[in-house]
């Protein structure tokens, strides 16, 4: 495969960013938007072509005789060489998951580009201020995210990881005149950056012991008893992980160094993927424009953490502990976020917590994946869910955006009964809800079912727990659905026209994504993605028992939601009054933000920052100031030497010369 197309996939968004960023102000809003969208459309075609080529061409570079999908490095340009093997390169890496991510990212990004043409203007068709900037940032984000998924080594991934963080920061703070948006963008940046500190340390630890950043060398390591992970070349430095396998594996504080490295890397993933306790930025990130939430904070960037763990999965397999940590964090987060989502008023927040919960599903699925259970079903399920979730969650967010655009508020209390006015939005949103709730035949059913199967194989406890979360998911989604589209509509004030469906640029992405959500479940995903590249027979592992139970749970939850929220009634009120504490905690997101505020403001600011500031102001600045004062004083002191009299000059001259000689003589003799 030639490098032209892969290079273009990265170069076009980068070029669009630079071009729109520099020249955007000079062109009309519409032109900038259309150029950005066309650029992304081109990338979409190229990425589809690449993925298609990878999966279907049957090229021996991509698929082995035995039908095993191979890792393929399209190009790998050395950028910074430390030692022979420790090299930072920039390259393009193709394997099943990166090809899948190319499809996901370009699809969603293109939809969002198209959608924003309609969304980023008011009801009179006037474009928002900074429209061109918005498209420039979208291009920057797409570039960074594509660069992240095709990274050939962990350091390239880290570079682009930070770039997506930066573009996310820029887009959350797009309405930079709004205080809440500015603080949300700062919060997102700081929290994820804090997590990335762990990531960086993890990378350094890993590369210190293995001497490489390369994913191929890092993951193509024979774990005991499973020698044929990817294409193992036994002559290459498999000593890489021999370091960790030998009985003398380095230990640190009771755990092996590999565990530490993996847990630290996972910390970076927790930050980006909003796992507890580093989830606090994601709900606030909803301050950004809604298309951004759909693209970055639902479909692509937030799954980077999952992608990271999947990318290093063979490494994680070597350390049971690290996978258990992934599972536990995921399971707790999933439940927590689902609980909180039940008690939010802002529809974007509900979706945000739902996103957290669904990403946690993927994490759990990775955490419970073991080659010995159903040949690594969990890994496949996780990637499958990532794929379907990206589609239906983007659909839900874009639908929510349409509602917000029509109503002008994020609260469901301002909506009610919109199904009559906005039929397109209503139907597509309903499909999204059914998909996320896991109703057959929508896509979410298949992927979630496989996750639950994988959990069931691993441990009954995790299975029951995650099924419960799945039930909660169906419940809060339908609560939201009913509150928005049912109930009695608000009276429309005189002189205002009724809310209505949106322009085609906004409807089209909704319809396309809804169609994908309807049929994506039937994609034989296992044929393309599995943990070791071998095609995975999906039906052989399909568990009808698990499927019917999860379906039953979802339906029950939907019925409960219907009873409570179909029409305005007193049931929710009663429920709330029966368990006031639970409502309070859920509504206030279990007071995590307050806890963080307490820790940062009270403990860190007072305990660490203030003394440091004092030290800086008095000791460091004081030293500098006293140097300056001293210099000035000395300057004043020696001033009389320059008297302007030649006699004096000559005196000083001769005294100087004699002293020079005399002192030296005294010292020598």
């Amino acid at each position: 495969m030639s490098a032209t197309i892969p290079v273009l996939i990265l170069a076009i968004p980068l070029f669009m960013f630079i071009f729109l960023g520099l020249a955007g102000k000079k062109m009309s809003h519409l032109l900038a938007g259309i150029l950005g969208t066309l650029g992304m459309g081109t990338v979409l075609v190229l990425a589809y072509y690449t993925a298609f080529h990878y999966f279907f061409s049957g090229d021996p570079a991509f698929i082995s005789e035995a039908g095993e999908r191979l890792q393929y490095i399209v190009f790998n340009q050395t950028w910074l060489q430390f030692t022979d093997r420790l090299v930072i390169s920039l390259g393009f890496f193709l394997d099943p998951i990166s090809a899948m991510m190319l499809v996901v990212i370009t699809t969603i990004s293109f939809m969002v580009h198209l959608y924003s043409l309609g969304y980023m203007r008011d009801h009179h068709g006037v474009f928002e201020k900074g429209f061109q900037r918005f498209y420039a940032f979208l291009s920057l984000f797409s570039f960074s995210m594509l660069g992240l998924v095709v990274a050939t080594n962990i350091f390239q991934m880290y570079i682009f990881w930070e770039l997506v963080g930066a573009s996310s920061y820029l887009l959350i703070g797009f309405y930079y005149t709004k205080n809440s948006a500015v603080s949300a963008s700062k919060k997102a940046f700081i929290v994820t950056r804090f997590a990335d500190l762990g990531f960086l340390i993890g990378i350094l630890v890993l590369s210190f012991y293995t001497g490489t950043f390369d994913f191929t060398s890092l993951t193509s390591v024979p774990v005991e008893g499973m020698a044929n992970v990817y294409h193992v070349d036994l002559s290459t430095p498999n000593a890489v992980l021999g370091v960790f396998q030998s009985s003398a594996a380095p230990m640190f504080m009771g755990a092996s160094v590999l565990t530490w490295a993996l847990v630290l890397i996972f910390m970076g993933g927790m930050g980006k993927s909003a796992m507890m306790p580093l989830h606090i930025w994601l709900p606030d990130a909803m301050e950004g424009p809604t298309p951004v939430s759909a693209l970055i904070h639902a479909a692509t960037m937030v799954v980077a953490g999952v992608y990271l763990v999947a990318r290093l999965f063979p490494l994680y397999l070597m350390e049971e502990t690290s996978l258990v940590i992934v599972t536990v964090v995921g399971a707790i987060t999933a439940f927590y976020a689902a609980m909180v989502a039940c008690a939010q008023i802002d529809i974007k927040r509900v979706l945000a917590f739902s996103t957290i919960s669904q990403i946690a599903f993927m994490m759990v699925s990775l955490g419970v994946a073991r080659p010995e259970f159903h040949e690594g079903l969990g890994y496949m399920a996780s990637m499958f869910h990532l794929f379907t979730h990206a589609m239906f969650k983007a659909l839900l967010f874009l639908g929510a955006g349409a509602l917000i655009h029509a109503i002008g508020s994020n609260d469901y209390t301002a909506m009610h009964g919109l199904r009559k006015y906005m039929p397109v939005t209503h139907w597509t949103f309903l499909i999204g809800c059914l998909a996320i709730a896991g109703i057959i035949p929508f896509s979410g059913f298949f992927s979630k079912d496989e996750i639950l199967s994988a959990c069931g194989n691993y441990s009954p406890l995790v299975y029951v727990w995650m099924s419960m979360v799945a039930g909660l998911t169906a419940f809060y989604m339908f609560r939201l659905y009913y509150l928005i589209f049912w109930w009695k509509e608000h009276k429309i004030p005189e002189g205002h026209h009724a809310p209505h469906d949106q322009a085609w640029t906004m409807s089209l992405p909704l319809i396309i994504l809804a169609l994908i959500s309807c049929v994506a479940g039937f994609i034989p995903f296992g044929k393309f993605v599995s943990w070791n590249g071998e095609p995975y027979d999906f039906m052989a592992h399909f568990d009808w028992g698990v499927a019917s139970i999860s379906l039953l749970v979802a339906v029950l939850a939907i019925i409960l939601a219907t009873v409570m929220y179909r029409k305005e009634n007193s049931l929710p009120e009663k429920f709330k009054n029966a368990l006031p504490a639970l409502w309070d905690w859920c509504h206030h997101r279990f007071y995590w933000d307050e806890l963080y505020m307490f820790i940062t403001h009270k403990i860190i600011f007072n305990g660490i920052c203030r003394p440091l500031a004092w030290f800086d102001r008095h000791i460091i600045d004081g030293t500098m100031d006293s140097f300056a004062i001293l210099t000035n004083k000395a300057s004043e002191l020696i001033r009389p030497l320059q008297s302007g009299q030649v006699q004096m000059y000559v005196w000083i001259y001769i005294i100087g010369a004699l002293l020079l000689g005399g002192v030296t003589v005294l010292c020598l003799i």
Binding site: I654, A657, L660
Partner: protein, 493 residues
């Protein structure tokens, strides 16, 4: 006598030809064409420089000792002479406007003749391998300068400066001669080689130490090392700006190199024992005192006088380094210093010619009225202060690197002191920038258009400031030259 020895002196002879041409032009050309003399002199000097540089680059001439061992030339020596030539060309170009002024009509030629004679003296100083030649060079580089300093005969300060200069110069020459006579008494010869040989075997005596101290004092006077520097500020202030710029860069650069040659080839064996510590003290004093005085100056020329004192201290780091790297760094430092200082003097001269203002207070708001001049001045100040990416940063960096090769605690301390002084110098260089850019006061200097020659001079200086540091071949070739040089043999600790 073997007349082919004169071939070794081709740079001196070239300079002599330029001198004669200027002299003939001055004497025989009709009065109406006399206004062309400055340009003629500049072009002649430029041709000499280009020829010298080409000769330096093209033919790989080896070291030549001529005239019974009194005269030596080598690629390094040609290189430093070429560096001086470049500086002289810029000075000449910058002086065209001034030299064509009203009161210069009768004496235009004299200025150029005197200047070329002093340059000839500096050539001799650099190439001398016998103290007699050295003293002739030193004196012919000093005495005509007094006349040049007094050139503004309508200005009282100019006379005062000349008198101060000549008095202190004579005194310092006397001290220098005394030192030399001590050396002669000890070694019985004035040939560098013979003295080196004699001192190598003899033990250090009080007389020798005093002799070295006096020699350092005599040359230190020309370099304006503290405490032999007191004439500098008055002379710089009083002299015409073109003379000041010539004094501050060419005279200083030539003497610095000659100083290195003398210290290595004559007293080289006593480096660690005797004069390293003398120089050590002088450098600390020079850098610090120069800076401390510079902080308080409001007159731009006086200010640059003290700045040049402190810069001389940095140049001396290349001598105390006492290795080929230090020598290369010193030559590079001189080259960069020529461009930076002449950039600053170019602006000062242009402003003085147009408005007669030389006080820092008058520079307030210069940015608003003459943005290009202000910008040139700013870059020159940045380069003098050593802010990257301008040439001054690299020259400071290299000279520190050269000094640190010594790798002793004392040298580390010295470099640390020099570094701290860089920060102090940053303060006063930025005072000028602040006055030009930040002050909100009324603008004193009205907008004016500087003449073509002045602008050309500033452009050349700016070019050097911006690119000398970034063009690595310049420094690399200096390193190559100095590592091959015969002076390198003397660098034994």
């Amino acid at each position: 006598m073997d007349y082919s020895q004169f071939l070794a002196m081709k740079q001196e002879i070239g300079l002599l030809v330029v001198f004669l041409l200027v002299f003939l032009y001055d004497t025989f050309m009709p009065r109406s064409t006399q206004k062309g003399l400055p340009a003629f002199a500049s072009i002649a000097m430029l041709l000499l420089t280009v020829a010298g540089c080409l000769g330096c680059c093209l033919c790989s001439c080896s070291d030549v000792v001529a005239f019974g061992g009194m005269y030596e030339t080598s690629p390094v020596i040609s290189a430093i002479k070429n560096i001086l030539n470049i500086g002289v060309v810029i000075v000449l170009i910058q002086s065209i406007k001034w030299a064509n002024g009203e009161f210069m009509t009768m004496r235009r030629g004299e200025f150029y003749e005197l200047l070329l004679v002093t340059l000839f003296g500096m050539y001799l100083m650099i190439s001398a391998r016998h103290f007699l030649v050295f003293v002739i060079g030193l004196e012919s580089a000093s005495l005509p300068l007094a006349a040049m300093v007094a050139f503004d005969k309508n200005r009282y300060e100019s006379h005062e400066a000349a008198v101060k200069y000549i008095l202190t110069a004579v005194f310092s020459s006397a001290i220098f001669m005394m030192g030399l006579s001590f050396v002669y008494a000890l070694a019985g010869s004035l040939y560098f080689e013979n003295i080196y040989g004699a001192l190598f075997v003899s033990s250090t005596s009080t007389m020798l130490v005093i002799a070295i101290a006096f020699v350092i004092a005599g040359i230190g006077f020309k370099l304006s090392l503290v405490p032999f520097h007191l004439w500098t500020a008055d002379v710089y202030q009083g002299a015409p700006t073109s003379v000041t710029s010539y004094l501050s860069v060419i005279s200083k650069g030539a003497t610095a190199f000659a100083f290195l040659v003398v210290m290595a080839q004559v007293f080289g064996s006593l480096y660690a024992q005797v004069w390293e510590w003398m120089l050590y003290a002088l450098i600390i004093l020079t850098i610090t005192v120069g800076n401390l005085f510079a902080i308080r100056q409001r007159n731009m020329k006086r200010f640059l006088a003290f700045s040049s004192i402190s810069q001389a201290g940095y140049i001396m780091l290349g001598v105390i380094a006492y290795n080929t790297l230090g020598m290369a760094a010193m030559m590079f430092y001189i080259l960069v210093y020529i461009f930076s200082n002449l950039g600053a003097f170019g602006v000062i001269g242009a402003i003085e010619n147009a408005s007669g203002k030389v006080s820092m207070d008058d520079y307030r708001g210069l940015y608003k009225t003459n943005p290009r001049l202000a910008f040139t001045m700013m870059l020159a100040m940045f380069s003098l202060a050593g802010i990257p990416p301008f040439a001054g940063f690299f020259s400071k960096f290299f000279i520190f690197t050269g000094a640190l090769q010594g790798a002793s605690v004392a040298i580390y301390v010295l470099v640390l002191i020099a570094l701290i002084n860089t920060i102090v110098s940053l303060y006063y260089y930025l005072l000028v920038v602040k006055a030009m850019f930040i002050s909100d006061d009324e603008c004193v200097i009205a907008p004016f258009r500087s003449s073509c020659s002045e602008r050309l001079g500033m452009w050349i200086a700016l070019f050097g400031i911006m690119f000398l540091g970034l063009l690595s071949p310049v420094y690399d070739s200096l390193i190559d030259l100095s590592s091959l040089s015969s002076i390198g043999m003397y660098f034994i600790r």
